[in-house]
């Protein structure tokens, strides 16, 4: 979209004054949201924040590195239950979240090994198997899943005189902000370039000196870390965990968000999260038609905007920049 003349310029997150202005305005809007929006919207946006962290992670793997994965529900469950058990031991929230991500990241590396030999649908099946295996392990192990009553987790206590929901909102807002910055920096770093090189042509990438083993595993580890943190934040928000919250349906939700939001796009991941959280919510009055509306909306978006919501967003920005000329 922009003419970039130096590497330094390429590393800058915000290249134009206008972009910076709108981002600052958006951030101010988000900071002020709990003061003028109903608690329902504060909750929905909090959920979008939580989802967008994991979806950014999956976009790093699927969109930027080109590795198809269907194991998201497994990483989510690992992150969530790690958080749950640590929380029961009384350890602090941020430590729990770090270990949620770390544990999921370790499993991400293990799942990443087959990616060194497998591609496309074969890799998809392996990761799918992982997701199902994790679900089965949690269902069958009462020690891990908390038994028939599940795990009840201490919720976030209200801070600074704010309501509990507002506290959740700001806590997740700060985290999603940090993870988004991390994603942008990662993508524009040499690591991100290695990921993109692997996606575009792995043989060529290797010939140029990109270690496929290291970067494919790293991509799995990073994306699983993000998804594990999402699981931990979800556990903290719900205050309760049971294995049935992490079925294949969750995998589909995250996968759809990545595709709808737009492959290889950080802002697309956030738009995708907003889509999967808000569409069922906005149409919840249509009752049994929600799956139909959901499915048809996905079809329409992909037919008319193959680049997803971020593609549309890019076109809108171009249009506004050129206005009134086309």
């Amino acid at each position: 979209m922009d003419l970039i003349e130096s590497y330094k310029e390429d590393l800058r997150l915000i290249r134009r004054f206008g972009t910076g202005f709108w981002i600052v305005l958006l951030l101010i809007g988000l900071i002020l949201l709990p003061w003028f929006a109903r608690e329902y919207w504060v909750y929905v946006v909090t959920l979008i924040f939580i989802y967008s962290i994991g979806i950014q992670g999956q976009n790093i793997l699927i969109g930027y590195t080109g590795q198809i994965s269907f194991g998201q529900a497994g990483f989510l469950a690992i992150g969530a239950f790690t958080y749950g058990h640590l929380s029961l031991l009384g350890s602090p929230i941020l430590v729990n979240l770090f270990f949620s991500g770390l544990m999921a990241g370790i499993f991400g590396i293990l799942v990443g090994f087959p990616s060194l030999r497998l591609k496309g649908p074969y890799l998809a099946i392996v990761t799918l198997g992982f997701g199902i295996a994790v679900y089965q392990v949690f269902v069958n192990s009462e020690i891990l899943s908390g038994g028939r009553m599940g795990l009840t987790i201490q919720k976030l206590q209200p801070l600074f005189g704010l309501s509990q929901m507002t506290t959740y909102y700001y806590f997740n807002f700060i985290l999603v902000f940090l993870f988004t910055l991390l994603s942008y920096n990662l993508i524009s770093s040499f690591v991100g370039r290695a990921f993109i090189a692997i996606r575009d042509n792995d043989i060529a990438a290797e010939a140029m000196g990109v270690s496929l083993t290291r970067y494919k595993l790293l991509s799995f580890a990073i994306s699983s870390f993000y998804t594990g943190v999402q699981g931990g934040l979800y556990a903290l928000l719900m205050g309760y965990l049971e294995p049935n919250m992490f079925t294949f349906l969750e995998t589909i939700t995250i996968f759809v968000a990545v595709i709808i939001g737009g492959l290889a796009s950080v802002e697309g991941s956030i738009l995708g999260a907003a889509f999967v959280v808000m569409v069922p919510q906005v149409f919840s009055n249509t009752k049994a038609f929600i799956p139909v509306i959901y499915g048809v909306t996905i079809l329409i978006i992909l037919i008319f905007e193959p680049l997803g919501l971020s593609g549309r967003w890019m076109k809108i920005r171009l249009y506004l920049r050129m206005w009134p000329f086309r």
């Binding site: 109903r38 608690e39 028939r148 599940g150 049971e242 349906l249 919510q281 009752k287």
Partner: protein
């Protein structure tokens, strides 16, 4: 231009002031209306159970046509949560500020995720269909807003095993159960009876399945090989039908007792002839289609919502929750507040909604209205009650 801006400013100020002046003393209550929120699975894997929410709404419509309660119409906001806890919490948050009370919450995970909402927002919950032990473990001071009449799976399993041991001579027992909290509580109940039987009964097999499984022939063989004379099913309706068909294929027809979610005679349509002779449990707060009182209510519900035809059992289940709420509203009197509704609910004593069920009782120290079971027998397309209701100890 300035005049226009002035008008816009004036309108914005008026708009912002509406909530200030339009605020009623109690949210969700006016002289002519009381607003009830229901979040239930109308789509997704548990969409069938959403008939409970629809049944509750249909009964509210019927009550409204009878003049409402103390001149107030019961207005229902029915929202779909797809059996997803996060969406259920979102629905409750969306309805907050509009509703006075929540009715007929469904799903153990949903109930668990939503449980703090009621105390935190001082909104009463009248009936929840999910593991009642959630509430048994819940802090007593927060139970003030919770009123539930759902049976405990473990107590029911104990009742079924004890009944079969004493009245049917069961000695070797086996259980086929769903590998989740529901199935495991059934297993726990049976284990307790076996260990208390001092060797008179034994648990010959405990065979779990996953809700996604459909091929159950090996499970049926395991049950057959156990040589059990009585098999207990803690399953979904479709899995009960599948396992019984597989058991019949291998020539295994033991006495079969099933949990109350399969107390609906529609099982004859789902399972076919293998359902004949099965002993389903009945839940304490609801009857069984075929009973006059049940059929009368079912006819009313279908009149108000024809899509409930074929789902009468679940619809009446939901309608009973709405009847319980309506009784609480009636007892609360004209001056309706959260506290007066709670007092009204706690005034309910041995009350059978429209003559249905074993009768429920609430009090300041008891918010588990009825924890009851009885035994039915599947005979020629109907479920015939063969025992009186047995009331287990309320859990909270």
């Amino acid at each position: 231009m300035k005049v226009q801006q002035g008008w816009i400013g004036f309108l914005v100020v008026c708009f912002l002031l509406i909530p200030v002046f339009g605020n009623t003393a109690v949210v969700g209550v006016t002289d002519t209306e009381v607003w009830v929120g229901i979040t239930t699975p109308l789509s997704g894997p548990a969409a069938l159970w959403g008939a409970t929410g629809q049944g509750a709404k249909a009964w509210a419509d019927y009550v409204n046509d009878q003049g409402g309660v103390h001149g107030r119409k019961i207005k229902v906001i029915l929202k779909d949560d797809g059996y997803n806890p996060a969406r259920a919490v979102a629905n409750l948050n969306e309805m907050k500020g509009k509703i006075f009370v929540v009715n007929a919450l469904l799903g153990t995970a949903v109930v668990n995720a939503c449980k703090d909402f009621f105390f935190d927002n001082k909104i009463p919950l009248i009936d929840a269909y999910g593991d009642v032990r959630i509430w048994a473990k819940y802090p007593k001071d927060k139970l003030k807003y919770i009123f539930v009449s759902y049976p405990d799976y473990e107590d029911e399993a104990r009742y079924l095993a004890n009944y079969s041991m004493k009245n049917m001579g069961s000695k070797k027992m086996a259980i086929f159960y769903q590998n989740d909290d529901y199935g495991k509580m059934g297993l726990e109940g049976i284990k307790m009876v076996v260990s208390a039987s001092q060797g008179k009964a034994q648990l010959a097999a405990a065979v779990p399945y996953e809700v996604t499984e459909r091929a159950l022939s090996t499970h049926a063989l395991k049950l057959k090989e156990s040589g059990a004379d009585t098999v207990y099913l803690y399953t979904t309706m479709s899995h009960a039908a599948l396992i019984l068909k597989e058991m019949a294929k291998v020539g295994y027809r033991p006495k079969t007792m099933v949990s109350f979610p399969m107390g609906d005679p529609v099982m004859f349509k789902v399972a076919g002839e293998v359902w004949e002779g099965v002993y389903p449990a009945g839940a304490g707060q609801v009857g069984v289609p075929g009973e006059k009182v049940m059929d009368r209510v079912a006819d009313i519900l279908i009149k108000y919502d024809p899509s409930l035809k074929g789902k009468e059992y679940l619809a009446v289940f939901g309608a009973v929750s709405m009847m319980t709420l309506a009784e609480g509203l009636k007892n609360a009197g004209k001056n309706l507040t959260q506290d007066s509704l709670i007092k009204g609910m706690e005034m309910i004593k041995n009350w059978k909604p429209e003559g249905i069920g074993a009768g429920m009782t609430f009090s300041p120290t008891r918010h588990h209205g009825v924890n009851g079971s009885r035994l039915l027998h599947a005979e020629k397309g109907t479920h015939v009650p063969i025992s009186e209701y047995v009331i287990h100890k309320p859990l909270f």
